[in-house]
Amino acid sequence: MTKREFLKYAGATAGCVVCTKALEMLSGTFMTAIPVYAAQEAPGKWSKPALYCSPQPGFVQCLKCPHGCALAPGDVGICRNRVNYKGTVYSIAYGNPCAVHVDPIEKKPLFHFLPSTRAFSIAVAGCNLRCLNCQNWEISQSSPRETQNMDMMPQSVVEGALQSRCATIAYTYSEPTTFYEYTLDTAAEAHKSKVLNVLKSSGYINEEPLRNLCKVIDAANIDLKAFDDEVYRKLNSARLAPVLNTLKVLKQEGVWLEITNLVIPTWTDNLNTIKKMCDWLCESGLQECPLHFSRFVPLYKLTQLPMTPVSVLESAREIAMKAGMRYVYIGNVPGHEAENTICPKCGKTVVERKGFTVVENRLKEGKCGYCGTGVAGVW
């Protein structure tokens, strides 16, 4: 090889790298590369055939979430826990939680659902979103094959909840709709023992599997991450419309619903957009659903944006209440008075909270202790 040739090859290699990167940039930030396992790798212990899969010539179409992954043998879904093994798609999440903790229910946050109780919280690795500010990215952006998991079949989870004196099992931390089969079976098992089920989710799921899940889910907190499809695509690698549909379906199916909106500076702190969001929620009959404006803290890849100023959260709350939302809270701001529940009629504080603790509950059978107005929730 002459030096001239060396230069030529070096230049060609550099050119290839630059072109590949440029193509990657042009294709947008919609979805990052997904690790693909060896075609014939067995799915692993506890794996269960996945629901909502449609066999097609040469691949299987996953119909659980709006991504609709077409999985050829050996492929792994965007959620990282659905694997096509020799033509059958398996959920490798089943029975493999990597995080199991006991939390106050207020931490989810669920403020109008069995206050002051504890939630037995479980998570399995994997998520169908790619949020740049994910707090639990080490599980959400991993596959169950990459995490250290516990062996917990549905019955063990329920036993754990009962032993920990938890009123609920929370499917949380990562994305429960991606460990769908496990959630479904565990929730059904929990109901047999009178333990209730709560979902902390992004709500990025198709309608049919969602309606099926609603049969065993009692409450949900859905992250409405933005009210702008472009922001959803850039920040979360998802779309807005399916999430809005999830909110409507949960309401229709009678699941107690609370909504969290994370206010991220420069991305989701536009007060006009927040007003549009609140108007839509009211128009959709969701004004009784508690809305939590949550303060952004720099995390994961989004570490260079500052925290949300408290006054921005206060403005958002004011807009939401003017729009007709009846219960609006501010989260992640310790000591803020917007942690309390205010009676929408008399304006008095009916549930006084500090952090995750209910200091005083002045509700009587779900009604304001002062004026008797009903306060929506499962008390």
Binding site: L235, V297, T303, Q304
Partner: protein
Amino acid sequence: METGSWKIRVALLLLGANATAVQVLFLREFISASYGNELVIGIVLACWMVLTGLGAFLGGRIRKLSPATLLVFLAVVPSLLVILLRALRNVVVVAGSMAGLGDVSVAALLLLSPFCIVSGYTFIRCAAALGPGQAGKAGAFAYTWESVGSIAGGLVFNVLLVRIFDIFQILALLATTTLLLVVPVFREPLSARKARTLLLVAVIVICAGVEFSALDRWTTAMTYPGQELVYSKGTPYGTLTVTRQQEQLNFYEDHALMFSTGDVVANEENVHYALLQHPSPTRVLLIGGGIAGITREVLKYPVEHVDYLEQNPWILEVGQRFTAAFTDSRMTPIHADARMYLRTTDVRYDAVLVNLPDPSTVQVNRYYTLEFFQEAKQHLRNGGVVAVALLPFAEYRGDESRLMQSTVYATLRRVFSNVLIVPGSRYYFLASDTVLDIHVTRLVERRNIANLYVNSYYIDDTMLAARSAALTAGLPADPPPNTDDHPVCTALQLSYWSRYFGTDPIPWITAGVILSAALLFWQFRPVGSAILASGFAASSSEIVLLTAFQALYGSLYEMTGMLITTFMAGLALGAHLSGKNLNRASFFRLAFLEIAVAVICILLPLLFTGLRDLASTGGTGIVLVATLLIAALTGAEFPLAVALKSTTGTDQVSSPYGLDLLGSAAGALLTGIYVIPAVGIAQASYISAAVSAAGASICLLGVRRSNPTGALPS
């Protein structure tokens, strides 16, 4: 060579000065744009050297452009590139998010190309302008004067320019100086009339410095969408910026967010978990973070004196101007490197609180090491406590996170009887020789301290205790300790950070560099191999010396600058002396120099061990002498290699120069980001020695085949 050589001397001086200043400025811009760490620094430096090397190769082949035209280009283009980098930052990468290594690499290759390729090309054209007759002497001459220019540029930049001017003012100053010198010296590429006009423009440019200041403010503001820029100042430690969003102030260093005002959770956690452990803390040492609002929390205790250490004095100035951190007379802000401070003070404390970012750099890692914990313990009173924090809390810990926590835990356990992990918004590690209590809210209530977050409303002691116990029990057993010499945590932190972007790139980078080196060794033997190895050994030993120096004597900015300047001076001195004795040039001599470098590299770990007990003044002198020696030996190799190169014409200079830069790139990249964090300083020195010895061996083997005497072909 004498005819016109003074013009070339000026050109080389300008080239060296310009390149050094622009390199430092660009490095800062890239760190700012990517919110990067040592991986980013390594990649940008490597791109810089590879591109300059490419320019040098081209310089041996394309001979059309004159040095004067090139220097004018080099003077003008950096400002445009900085504007481009700032403008495109939030277009290419999502605003507020970190850039991946792929993005940084592509951006560095694209944006540095115009400057670096032309810079490498210009060096070769300057050497060629000295005449083709005595390539070795021409090479030595060019190398020496460029190095002298670099020293001058580095000194003026570090000592003067960066303290007074912003980036565009500095670049304007450099451009004007170049134009003022190039036009009269070369009398080209412009006519006399045009030259006069240009001079006038240059004077106006200087006088309009204020406008460049506005340009800096405007382009800086572009990188903070939605925030009002209230303060921005270049300091030798990095650019400090303050922005406002409604009532909230945000503080950045090199565009990396340090903290925002009103962060109740962080402020309380950083203080109370530790101070609650002491029955009555009266004297407290804060290392970093004092202006973030934590001083108010410290003053909730009956403290009599709080010493707050900050290495960058401008942070203290910013704190004074924008916060109420120093209003209480019990607060004493101190500008000092905390490690150095602890070695020189006799004061003892009840608590040492470390509020620093995660140890993603060897410099920050110094506050998570065995040596630091030992020094801190020596300054603790009975019942004293040390607190450090690590990584954001998550419901699940991956392998890197668990290993890092396990390393810090095990390191603390070697020094203190009790270590407690408190899972807050970060993982807080408390260490003391007295019993530590995880029931923090009970302690808060007992002391009657009014907190907004660290209280029983937010924290359940029972759950906290259970989580703390589970976290501790889940740590891998007996990891190696994190030390100054072997910064394990930095390696783990870089792996942890790399996982943000999917895969760990370090093994790939390493494999790529080793493969390329093997190919180049094979292709360019024997002289090429020697010069490649020499470049590698020089840059890697420079990084080893810098790291060891920081570990030994703290990371005082001026001393680090002096070390780099000494290194450049050594290169110039070696090249100059070697260039004078080229008639005795031989392959054996080249191999001898390589072996000498290898021997010094082998001795470096012994030297560092010996220096531990030596006072800093004497130790600094010895480190500087070692630096000068290695650099001089490396510098001496360059003219020898040029003289021994069998080809003719300018390729005699271009090929060794390019290979030297390629070797340097590999050395800087691998040693900084991989070798030292993975295996430690001593092993990194031995690897440098091995590479240098390999270069010498290939050189000797190759010459034995072609020329048994090893003498210079006549």
